[in-house]
């Protein structure tokens, strides 16, 4: 692993230089986190009564991104980013994944402000692609497993004239960038994506995404019988953002429809998630670069036919960000984040998996993020 890490980092520096990049930038960020979680666990062996106790208390390097961006010409740019994360599960205590590795071509299709992106790239679904982790938690799309944050594929990314918004059309593997081995969906259907964000007036953004995906290879097996595991997924997302003065509120609605082969349609189900995340920027009010954060999620998977897995979750987050060491553009190099997250599963609406692990939790997270970005040449 260490050799691989070293080879990757050396490659990060050398490859773009060898290719004669016009400009080469390096950037990265590290998230050092302390997590303290109190969970609801069985009080005794009768498995009927519950009690609360500390279930997690640890420090971690939750994420480390290191990336290079090479500008080969005014119309061609490449970027790759490795995702480094600490983990006690792995032998070496750290994991390494390629998060992005793509090329942007801005002149492949002669439409103004349109870029064609090829490679391992962002998935432009819902809030996931511009989720800047102002809250420590993941974007709802990622958190509740609607779509992956990055995937292999090709996409067209454009901006509407006059700053009226943006659009994306994409075709991806549909597997994401983290899956491996038995976790893979064994998917031969590509995932298709369409995303649109409109900014009708300064401060107001309305958007929506649609994505189709498939899982478990083929509808029919070799003997022409239907594959009980094969399913198609229709994912939809609606976004509303209002940013006026110090207040910035996002609301997101997610919908997922899973359909199995006709003979197994009893397994079909749909799920929804509603999230709202407001931010109050105090900088203009008190001078200090402090943001107050909030979030509410309602993830409803009660229509799952598998009674073990169905669940209804309400989650609340309260947080505070302190940004400091800002650069000339006002972007902070350091950010201290404090979040409190309460997850509350509805006991009546949730299945037996709730009893096996998805129990209510109260979590406090304190995180120090540091970022750097520099132009090498």
């Amino acid at each position: 692993m260490k050799k691989l890490l070293l080879a990757t980092l050396v490659g990060l520096f050398l490859l773009p230089a060898l290719l004669g990049a016009l400009e080469l930038k390096i950037s990265g960020e590290m998230w050092n986190r302390w997590t303290l979680e109190q969970g609801k666990v069985f009080a005794d062996t009768s498995l009927t009564a519950y009690k609360k106790e500390i279930t997690k208390n640890f420090f971690s390097l939750e994420r480390g991104y290191v990336g290079m961006e090479a500008k080969f010409s005014q119309s061609m740019k490449g970027r790759f980013t490795v995702d480094i994360f600490s983990s006690d599960i792995l032998k070496d205590g750290a994991g390494l994944k390629l998060k992005y590795a793509y090329l942007d071509f801005s002149n492949l299709i002669p439409i103004p402000d349109l870029t064609t992106t090829v490679g391992l790239q962002k998935v432009y679904f819902g809030s996931i692609y511009d989720w800047s982790y102002n809250l420590i938690g993941k974007a709802p799309t990622d958190e509740y497993k609607y779509a992956n944050s990055a995937d292999y594929g090709i996409s067209l990314n454009g901006y509407l004239p006059g700053g009226w918004g943006e659009y994306q059309l994409g075709m991806y593997n549909g597997e994401g960038y983290k899956n491996y081995g038995s976790n893979l969906k064994d998917n031969i259907d590509p995932a298709f994506l369409a995303n649109l964000r409109i900014v009708p007036t300064a401060g107001l953004t309305i958007g929506g995404s649609v994505m189709t995906n498939g899982s478990e290879r083929k509808l029919k097996l070799a003997d022409a019988t239907e594959n009980s595991s094969y399913n198609t997924q229709l994912l939809a997302d609606g976004i509303l953002r209002a940013a006026f003065g110090p207040l910035d509120i996002w609301a997101e609605y997610l919908y997922k429809d899973i359909s199995y082969a006709p003979n197994f349609s009893a397994k079909d189900y749909s799920a929804t998630c509603f999230s709202v995340f407001p931010t109050l920027k105090l900088k203009s009010l008190i001078g200090a670069d402090i943001d107050l954060q909030g979030r509410y999620d309602r993830s409803d998977e009660t229509r799952m036919p598998d009674s073990k897995k169905k669940n209804l979750l309400n989650a609340w987050t309260g947080g505070l960000n302190f940004n400091f060491m800002a650069d000339d553009s006002g972007s902070p190099a350091l950010q201290a984040q404090l979040n409190y997250v309460r997850k509350d599963y509805d006991e009546d609406a949730s299945g037996t998996d709730y009893a096996n692990g998805k129990k209510d939790t109260d979590t406090v997270m304190l995180q120090l993020k540091w970022r750097f970005a520099s132009t090498i040449y």
């Binding site: 004669g20 990049a21 016009l22 400009e23 500008k71 080969f72 010409s73 005014q74 119309s75 002149n107 103004p112 402000d113 901006y159 509407l160 004239p161 006059g162 700053g163 009226w164 918004g165 943006e166 964000r197 900014v199 007036t201 300064a202 401060g203 953004t205 953002r241 940013a243 006026f244 003065g245 910035d248 920027k281 900088k283 203009s284 009010l285 008190i286 001078g287 800002a326 000339d328 553009s329 006002g330 972007s331 132009t375 040449y377």
Partner: protein
């Protein structure tokens, strides 16, 4: 007195004091081309309005636009128009970028003062910057290798030069990429084979300006648009500039402000 009234009064007092304090301070960030205009006009404006404090930073047009988007600058100085992507990003954050033209400029093509070349076509400039023309003798000059000097790609001057002269083609990898107009001027001035491009306000006696398509960059050719590398210089604000901000920009656009623009080596709007 009831505690509630005291708290409300304190909050009101704080809000008023912040509002008052904020209205007397203006922060500008961005283009190094617009920098001398912003500095000179700010000094003149603050002389007349000593209660207003205008702070100015460079960094390049891209940096200024990002600062406006992030709310850390009241004015983004830019030597190019904002891109659709930048406007969209700003608007989604509640920032309504509003352009104010403050001056006209020509991007001057400059060479060492000992260089005999007096005129270059746009095609020749493109071929020099692409690396196809490598020696001054290929364009009627001395037998001397050409040293290509360019701006970093975050620069608005580069973006305009790229659009108007290079047509989006790649700058030769051996080019020196410098971070400011001053750096380009001084490097060309000390490099006999050097060629660079800078705003008119940065011309010095150490360097020589060459004609482009046989047109000299001057007030007439920039104002009537006949000079191929003419452009407008902008200040962007969040919405219509009001209060001290509006007053400052109105001053730059006034006859007195435009006189300062000309003194700085740029071209008046009219």
């Amino acid at each position: 007195m009831n505690k509630k009234y005291i708290i409300v009064a304190l909050i009101l007092l704080l809000a008023i004091s912040f509002a008052v304090a904020k209205s007397r301070k203006i922060t500008c960030s961005g283009s190094t081309t617009v920098l001398p205009i912003a500095q000179a006009t700010a000094e003149a404006y603050m002389d007349k309005h000593p209660d207003v404090n205008i702070s100015i930073r460079g960094g390049g047009s891209g940096v200024g636009i990002a600062a406006l988007q992030n709310g850390s600058a009241d004015i983004a100085n830019s030597s190019r128009v904002m891109k659709a992507k930048e406007i969209s990003q700003a608007k989604s954050k509640g920032i309504n970028p509003t352009p104010y033209a403050v001056a006209l400029d020509g991007i001057a093509i400059v060479v060492h003062k000992s260089n005999s070349v007096a005129n270059l076509s746009i095609a020749q400039i493109r071929d020099i910057y692409n690396g196809k023309i490598k020696n001054w003798s290929e364009v009627g000059g001395p037998k001397l290798p050409i040293v290509v000097i360019s701006r970093d790609v975050a620069s608005g001057t580069f973006e305009v030069f790229n659009e108007k002269a290079l047509g989006g083609s790649k700058v030769v990898s051996s080019a020196q990429l410098l971070a400011s107009n001053n750096a380009v001027a001084s490097t060309v001035g000390s490099t006999p084979g050097g060629i660079g491009y800078i705003g008119l306000g940065y011309l010095t006696e150490e360097i020589k300006t060459v004609k482009v398509n046989s047109i000299t960059p001057n007030t007439k050719t920039v104002q009537d648009g006949s000079y191929p590398l003419a452009r407008k210089l902008y200040m962007y604000t969040n919405g219509k500039a009001k209060g001290d901000l509006g007053s400052y920009i109105a001053f730059i656009q006034s006859d007195a402000g435009q006189k300062i623009v000309v003194e700085q080596g740029f071209i008046a709007l009219k």
